[in-house]
């Protein structure tokens, strides 16, 4: 059974009462919320998520209206994990992005079974393509394009999970988070995927979420081998884009820096990156915004590794 088997009224009723358990990437979450638009948002971007009524729940979370006099004129929402509130409340309109940030927080704070890197990652030909990048480098846009028009499988848009022993990627497919200009660009791609409404004025500007393709969701437990590590940068005047070899030493430091739990895993984290990079090729990639050309170029590289 998937989430879209529920009608809006049914889903809202369940979210309000006992909560709904469904698969959010590798993990199963129980989500509770009495906020009306949470149900409709979930039906958009988690439409194909597997409902897990039986079995165990990893993350027990709630999006609850915050109390106090504020609720009368400016309703806010709190994210809670087993009753603990890790964030400040946000306007209720931002419940959906808050849930996504919250779920990322759950993984990056509580999952130490593997190295968790802040990077997008997709798969093709059985191999992984990791896209780390500072905010604004365009990793999510590129990731969305690779998935929408390049036939790549989405493994994760935010959290690349590296198995410490094998150096393989453990998928965690969840919706892709798009910001500001990227929203319009990705909406124009022929992906056939649901896109959420755009939420304005968040801490990160405007945010919209793109549903993860069904094929990615279905193969959440299928690991990917090391392939490419690409450090993307959007540069309007780079005409056709440029590819530049990156030394493994430098790639290593960058990946370690972008890891949430490298200091915690220490030696095991070191080994995870080392094993991955032993088998992966690393490049710097500047692209001019022509997503079709960028996807073709990366597809070509993937064929060769």
């Amino acid at each position: 059974m998937i989430l879209s088997n529920y009608s809006l009224a049914e889903l809202h009723g369940k979210l309000k009462a006992t909560g709904v358990c469904f698969r959010t990437g590798r993990f199963v979450s129980r989500v509770r919320s009495s906020i009306e638009n949470v149900a409709s948002d979930l039906l958009q971007i988690y439409a194909g998520a597997e409902v897990c009524e039986e079995g165990f729940v990893d993350f027990d979370i709630e999006l609850a209206p915050s109390g106090g006099y504020r609720r009368l004129f400016k309703p806010q929402v709190n994210f809670s994990f087993n009753g603990y509130l890790p964030f400040q409340p946000l306007p209720q309109d931002q419940s959906l992005p808050l849930m996504e940030w919250g779920l990322n927080w759950c993984v990056s704070n509580h999952f130490q079974q593997a190295l968790v890197i802040h990077a997008a990652v997709v798969e093709k030909y059985g191999k992984a393509l990791i896209l780390p990048g500072q905010p604004g480098a365009g990793k999510s846009t590129l990731c969305a394009a690779l998935v929408s028009i390049g036939g790549f499988r989405l493994l994760s848009d935010e959290l690349t999970i590296l198995d410490c022993d094998s150096g393989h990627i453990l998928p965690n497919p969840r919706p892709i988070s798009l910001k500001n200009k990227a929203i319009k660009i990705v909406a124009g791609l022929p992906s056939g995927l649901n896109m959420s409404r755009t939420v304005e004025d968040t801490q990160k500007g405007s945010v919209a979420l793109l549903q993860a393709p069904q094929i990615s969701l279905a193969s959440w437990d299928k690991e990917a081998l090391p392939g490419l590590v690409i450090f993307p940068r959007f540069k309007a005047d780079s005409e056709g884009g440029t590819l530049q070899d990156l030394s493994k030493g430098e790639a290593f430091l960058q990946l370690a820096n972008q890891s949430f739990n490298y200091p915690i895993l220490a030696e095991r984290g070191f080994k995870a990156i080392a094993r991955h990079l032993d088998q992966a090729h690393c490049y710097r990639f500047e692209y001019d915004g022509d997503l079709n050309a960028a996807v073709d170029a990366l597809d070509g590289l993937m064929r060769d590794v």
């Binding site: 990893d58 087993n82 009753g83 079974q113 915690i264 220490a266």
Partner: protein
């Protein structure tokens, strides 16, 4: 009210064998809420119960253990740094709380969360210690001049310091309890032990320090975790001599009343094995029967249920009662009232933000 699963499992870990799937799910939530995941990983490992955790939930316990071990590794490095910095001015710090348990190889260090390092420096050495730590990269957070002087004059520690590069927090204590507190004792009387060159409080004083803190609190968000620490510390008193010593030290330091409560509630809530004779002896520190009734009503609720999770009005009330008690014990009213009034005014007028920003 039925007993929470987490309390059952702390009392008798073997009870977890009989947990249903739904109970394991609830137990996991309770572990997250109380910060006891890593502690249970240790308990279950030691009692060979790990295989009873449902496979799908095992990673939560393992991950918490990884974090606990990593913090433990980090604080050991921090201990070396702090000792080196203070050696320059000829001061040997005394390590307290979690770090002390780790250095002394107490079982209570297993599965504990080590969030910061606590050291004790005697009052006369405070200025030079602060200077040396500053030179070696420890910085105090921004605060108003009022807060700064408050810490020095009335509290038992300096404002928390953070290392510029490593980001590790350091609390420098110059007394074990707030100076104003009803049970304040002279820090010169503390007994120390040396573990491979590192100074820590002697076992009985470690235990006393632990329960003084727990029972003087006014907020009990992690009350059960602290009570579990205390339970494990009491279990280190394996023979009669140690128990005698504990009672003797509690008397000497003037914290008999707190010792009475600690023994009573640890035994009552977690079934800590405390000899009957010790409980009997501690009776001499019991409060008047009305007070005892009130404490017996409040403490078992508050130590087991965090106030942020509480739905029951009685539990909330119990938290409120102990909140008032905590403040009352720490500061006489003629100091507390002006302090709270001043803090409130600074918050309302926004002056605290202006001053810290400056």
């Amino acid at each position: 009210m039925s007993e929470r699963l987490i309390v059952k499992a702390l009392k008798t870990p073997e009870q977890a064998k009989a947990f249903s799937d739904a109970q394991w799910q609830t137990f996991l939530s309770e572990c997250y809420q109380t910060g006891l995941l890593a502690r249970f990983f240790h308990i279950f490992t030691k009692r060979q119960l790990l295989q009873h955790i449902p496979t799908a939930l095992l990673w939560h316990f393992q991950s918490a253990d990884v974090v606990s071990q990593a913090h433990r590794r980090d604080i050991r490095i921090e201990v070396e740094h702090i000792e080196r910095a203070l050696k320059m001015v000829g001061i040997r710090p005394v390590f307290l709380k979690g770090v002390a348990y780790d250095l002394a190889h107490d079982e209570v260090a297993e599965g504990r969360v080590f969030s910061d390092v606590d050291i004790f420096i005697s009052r006369p050495e405070l200025d030079s210690a602060e200077h040396a730590l500053g030179l070696h990269g420890w910085r105090q957070g921004k605060m108003t001049a009022y807060d700064r002087s408050y810490y020095r004059r009335w509290m038992h520690e300096l404002p928390p310091m953070t290392h510029r590069e490593r980001g590790m927090a350091l609390d420098v204590h110059h007394s074990l309890l707030p100076v104003t507190c009803r049970y304040a004792f002279d820090a010169k009387e503390l007994q120390l032990e040396d573990f491979q060159g590192h100074l820590v409080l002697a076992l009985c004083d470690r235990i006393i320090h632990s329960f003084c803190h727990l029972l003087m609190e006014s907020e009990f968000e992690k009350g059960l975790r602290d009570l579990s620490d205390l339970d494990l510390l009491f279990r280190l008193c394996a023979d009669n001599d140690k128990w005698e010593m504990l009672l003797f030290r509690a008397e000497q330091l003037g914290v008999g009343r707190l010792c009475f409560y600690a023994l009573r509630y640890s035994q009552l809530i977690l079934d800590t094995p405390i000899p009957e004779a010790v409980l009997q002896q501690s009776q001499r520190w019991a409060p008047a029967s009305f007070t005892l009734q009130a404490m017996d009503w409040a403490f078992p609720k508050v130590l087991v249920n965090a106030s942020s999770m509480a739905v029951s009005r009685r539990i909330k009330m119990a938290h409120f009662v102990l909140y008032l008690r905590g403040h009352w014990l720490r500061m006489p009213l003629y100091l507390l009232a002006p302090h709270l009034a001043r803090k409130a005014w600074m918050r309302i007028s926004g002056r605290d933000q202006q001053e810290t920003a400056a």
